[in-house]
Symmetry: D3
Subunit: 162 residues, 6 copies
Amino acid sequence: MDKQFSHIDHRGSANMVDVTEKHISQRLAQAEAFIYMSAETLTMIEQGNHHKGDVFAVARIAGIQAAKKTPELIPLCHPLMLTKIAVDFELQPQLGRVRITSLCKLAGQTGVEMEALTAASVAALTLFDMCKAVDPTMTISGLRVLEKQGGKTGHWQHPEGA
Amino acid sequence: MDKQFSHIDHRGSANMVDVTEKHISQRLAQAEAFIYMSAETLTMIEQGNHHKGDVFAVARIAGIQAAKKTPELIPLCHPLMLTKIAVDFELQPQLGRVRITSLCKLAGQTGVEMEALTAASVAALTLFDMCKAVDPTMTISGLRVLEKQGGKTGHWQHPEGA
Amino acid sequence: MDKQFSHIDHRGSANMVDVTEKHISQRLAQAEAFIYMSAETLTMIEQGNHHKGDVFAVARIAGIQAAKKTPELIPLCHPLMLTKIAVDFELQPQLGRVRITSLCKLAGQTGVEMEALTAASVAALTLFDMCKAVDPTMTISGLRVLEKQGGKTGHWQHPEGA
Amino acid sequence: MDKQFSHIDHRGSANMVDVTEKHISQRLAQAEAFIYMSAETLTMIEQGNHHKGDVFAVARIAGIQAAKKTPELIPLCHPLMLTKIAVDFELQPQLGRVRITSLCKLAGQTGVEMEALTAASVAALTLFDMCKAVDPTMTISGLRVLEKQGGKTGHWQHPEGA
Amino acid sequence: MDKQFSHIDHRGSANMVDVTEKHISQRLAQAEAFIYMSAETLTMIEQGNHHKGDVFAVARIAGIQAAKKTPELIPLCHPLMLTKIAVDFELQPQLGRVRITSLCKLAGQTGVEMEALTAASVAALTLFDMCKAVDPTMTISGLRVLEKQGGKTGHWQHPEGA
Amino acid sequence: MDKQFSHIDHRGSANMVDVTEKHISQRLAQAEAFIYMSAETLTMIEQGNHHKGDVFAVARIAGIQAAKKTPELIPLCHPLMLTKIAVDFELQPQLGRVRITSLCKLAGQTGVEMEALTAASVAALTLFDMCKAVDPTMTISGLRVLEKQGGKTGHWQHPEGA
């Protein structure tokens, strides 16, 4: 087995990857997550949304702010300067869920998939917070990276598709 | 329908619940999440773990620190002073996953389920970060509240059990 | 002159007031600020607002989050646990401005007027940020405390009224 | 009307401007604010200042630190690496006020006027905090951008002058 | 050996002590540190200090702000609400050093010695930062807890005295 | 005397150095600190370490996270994007202490010695926190910069050696 955890050194200690010499390239990552909830809760979000409801606005801001905080939250992530963060929501009532998607961009030395995952994750948690009085049984699932561009790997897509 | 989103007021605006007059009681919440990964990745974590590997140590600290940051991350959460935060991990190779559990405690005016969810979520994201060089297709799923104690609701368990 | 700056000691050094022995009481503060802008910009906000625009939603969340950050921003403020934060907006096109109001509550040992001022201030700055591509000449003015309740001073209102 | 809010997309949702492709240029912004207070309070600051008083020192540090926190405070601001932050104060007793000025510099992809405004704003709030025991009726006014350099706009000055 | 690390559980994992049931008492801790520097550097600080120099003012604010950040910095520390933080400096030119002392107070469930140590430590680092252009060989030493009051231990003094 | 504090201007006010025009070069700094403790405490760390103990893992993460927070902690430090942070520990029981070393790297406009010192300092404080129930008399000493590379100064080593 020649694959290795980049974040653990040969002694088993936590290791921040050294990116000093890495090439600066344009990078992009997209992630998604789902929050499963009752039909009733979905309906309440949908109705609120037709009437200037802030539910998605609050969760969007929370996701954007969380992406900026990624190096504070994930110990071995490098500090970096995102040039674009987007978080979006799609009500999928027939599937009993809201789909959360996120996009992060950067011209830098490391990938931004952790930032995209953190944005989607905190946006989902914020939806949970806003809806929990109605439905405490919600579940957040399917958080994964959909696509990455830039860096040594080039264009990568999740093998199971978007 | 007489249920209401506590975090949205009658005009559809974001609303932080007023807990000034709420009774102080001992509160507790437990949450769980799963990170699904390849058999190879699970084996690498397991082996590292037998040799003083820091994988779980790093993710545990990340989860504990994230719980303290919950009011910074989730806009309508109240600042509060957790008296106990615990994050734990169980390798479940037969199910192709690691189980992450979290516990938060507090003597205060609001529940701590968002803190427990945030701890589990960021611990899972940290595992993702440490293993992503080996397996970028991982998925984080099943993040939910298992149990709550304290406050007006008293003892609550997720209807689908722990 | 027997009045003294509470935050400067007899040597002229910065001084955090010792509140260890202070009584815990329910406290409340309200603040206001105005952002003056062109008629065109006000119209754009107003129209956006009729169509689920996020302008006020984003500024509200920014103000709420800033109130929680007050002890990080204002060096001699005590850390405290706000039980309620509200930020609101009123378009006053005839006066060429938006009025921003904020409210903070707490059961604690120190007043919360700095938290209310910080919330109004950062909400106003966020409006500035969102509108600056259209109107870079905006001015934020009239930031002051309207009212305080609780603590030794009891009920206080700004002599010039709300 | 072809002007548009850069921070709101066509659906009315909050939008962080994508600066990935933007040219890196040297940028600078200057802002000012005023805090109006009683003659008595101004005299106390002035006297303290003659005796190594920390009043302006504390407010200067608060303003500098706040400029660095701008992307945490203003949701749609990009993280960036300021190369210079300065905050200064001028007692203007004949006008019943203190003038606060700020300067931010950067070689980067976005302007730094929000950083300069945030520095001046938090420096003013810190003065408020330090003087409020003597004078709770103070007002912060006239917060605006004086000048910007760099980027597509080039040199911009507030039409009403410095 | 029956003493145990409170922050490591029986499996060797990091453990945040559960203080939920602990009695609230008034607590206080004092700490000290020294920064050793060249005679020339000490003279420059001393002279600046006679002329409204901000050296100690900046380091004092940094120390106070750092005490509030202790639970963000030290992973297993509990969030808490300090009621008093003080940082002070004494030039000891005959010993080639500056003495930094700190004091933290709280009515709460856990001791505040980590907060006092963090305040002294960051105040010393800030002095280092301000003087390093003149003297990069400085050393920070002798950081320790001098005294604690409150909690189960009661009054404790370092056996080697203040 | 023609040397000057770079962080204090000619009026004695705090001054953030303007690095806008500074050349970007690869920079590196190494620092060390020691924590002195009883033989018993050292033995407990050593034994824990043989059994997957998290003591050093927790302190390493705390040090890495603190390096990223340096511009938040040290008021006149510039925000910057470290490309590598490492923290390491060596038990030196014969000297009654643990040695903590840190390394920071960056391609940027300012040196990273404050980041290396902050990492070593907070790692030492975290060890203190974890061991204080057993030994509250510990002392942290000898915090200094060992070596710097890059920038105008080039390669610099502490005159007293590593």
